[in-house]
Amino acid sequence: MAPPITPVAPDARTRAARQGLHRGETRSALLYLVPAGVVLVGLLAYPLYQLVVISLYDYGQPQAAGAAPLVFLGFENYVSLLGDPRFWDVLAATVLFAAVCVGGSLLVGTALAVLATRASPWARKLLFLAALGAWATPAMAGSYVWLFLFDQDFGLVNEVLSTLGLAVDGHSWTFGRFSAFGLVAGEIIWCSFPFVMVTMYAGISAIPREVVEAAALDGASATRTATSVLLPILRPLIAIATVQSTIWDFKVFTQIYVMTNGGGVAGQNLVLNVFAYQEAFAGQRYGLGAAIGVVMTVLLMLITVVYLRIRR
């Protein structure tokens, strides 16, 4: 604010000016907010509301085509979903699968971050460059590369295994439920451990050298230093990496859809997100699909709330 130049009733002047400014500000602020506001309300808030609405209706192909009237079901979609053993199976598979992916990424990422702190700068740069490459690879491209590596007939893995005399020719990695899930988990860990590694490396490098030296002077062993000194310092970072990875891995779609060809043999590799998609767009049960979407949103929101609690 420029200082008032005229000595005449400065108080009244500035107040009036401020009020005028304020009114003008609200108007221009609204103007500046319009483009983003329209898009966010129309394409984020409204669809979120619609998701809940659709989940309360019997919404099938006739309704989608406008050939039959909508029938309000209330919570019937949810009742039939919760009564469906398939849903519980998919939910359990999703939780277990996400847990394996998160655990794997954390373990690999943290171990490599520790390794990076012990290596020379050139070796560390090399490791980070490779990790950056895996991180940057689009899920779609990564899925196909891993499928190719593990291909039944022309894959490198089968080739190497059969040269070693370990596997029969033409073993299919995507046929069995656990082996297919394992293959997808491998791809996901491959492209998501770099995030953990970079985060943990930043955390470890930020720990002052004196802390470790003080522990050593006090006679603490390396293990004891790691568990009683370093781990507590890094705990918030570990929590952030865990929750962030959980959010990503819980709603995975591309890798499962591509690598198991839409959810595996007889839907054995379905996870929630793919299940919702298949129910809605393949089975044309949009109401039921929306109910799965609501369940997924609520679960993810809960995880996010935990996340924000930790971050604060």
Partner: protein, 277 residues
């Protein structure tokens, strides 16, 4: 001694992590006969661009590449303008309800957009009846949804950059007779360029990598396919042309790799958290 062991481990692990990418590019460059051979070799003596030619010419991947690029660049351009304006309003203007808006912006970042495919599908269908360019099977529908998905984080990030520009600068500009609008575009906009670059890279990668919404919205017609969808349709369960699929995957990966190298410096400083989605 221990350092040497750590270095050796680093090199070995780096090689293992990079190996799938190497294998992808290698398979894309191998002549067709070598891929189908019974013992794959980790090198090729006769690199050829046959596979690239096959996907680009015969399979129309050139068009899909351009489609993906158009969607991603439109999302970047539109989201930058909208996010910048919103960020300016939220940092530089005082008005009632600002705090409420900021909280809503935080909540918006939590919404798992993947769950919104069903309502968005019907919304795009209705849009198409009014404005065909943003309806189903059109690239416009993808631009719209990715614009919405990238805005909350872009606004949030730009807010910090706008706030870092001192208010005195604005007062000086006002004294020099510059209008607020002029100041915003001529002074503020160039000053927050680093933030704009970071935000645009994120928007670009999200739009470029998207498979779910392309799969949902582009149901018929082949001219508007994006790269991920083109790859999916091209992949046949039994008789795969792995060379061509790897060529397509390479085409998809290279632009993102380039972008990642551009922002790698920011990756550690918290920005990385939002990258993979």
């Amino acid at each position: 001694m221990r350092r040497r062991a750590a270095n050796a481990a680093c090199v070995l692990i780096a090689a293992a992590v990079a190996f799938p990418l190497y294998w992808m590019v290698l398979a894309a460059l191998k002549p067709p006969g070598e891929i189908q051979s019974a013992d794959p070799r980790p090198w090729t003596l006769a690199p050829s661009l046959d596979s690239f030619r096959r996907v680009l010419d015969v399979q129309n991947f050139g068009l899909y590449f351009v489609n993906s690029l158009v969607v991603a660049l439109l999302v970047v351009a539109l989201s930058l303008v909208a996010a910048f304006l919103a960020a300016v309003a939220l940092t530089r203007f005082r008005f009632r309800g600002r705090t409420v808006l900021l909280v809503m912006l935080l909540v918006a970042q939590m919404v798992p957009v993947e769950a919104l495919t069903i309502p968005l599908f019907f919304l795009m269908r209705s849009f198409g009846e009014v404005v065909p360019a943003v309806g189903l099977n059109q690239l416009g529908s993808l631009v719209l949804v990715h614009l919405a998905f990238s805005l909350p984080f872009a606004i949030w990030m730009l807010r910090g950059f706008v706030a870092a520009v001192p208010v005195e600068l604005e007062e000086a500009a006002a004294l020099d007779g510059a209008s607020r609008f002029r100041f915003t575009w001529r002074v503020l906009f160039p000053l927050v360029a680093p933030g704009l670059v970071a935000a645009s890279v994120l928007s670009f990668i999200h739009a470029w990598n998207d498979f779910l919404f392309a799969r949902t919205f582009l149901i018929s017609g082949t001219d508007n396919r994006t790269l991920p969808l083109g790859l999916l349709v091209f992949f046949k369960p039994e008789e795969q042309d792995w060379g061509a699929i790897m060529a397509g995957a390479t085409l998809m990966t290279v632009p993102v790799l380039v972008f990642f190298v551009v922002v790698q410096r920011h990756l550690v400083s918290g920005l990385g958290g939002a990258l993979k989605g």
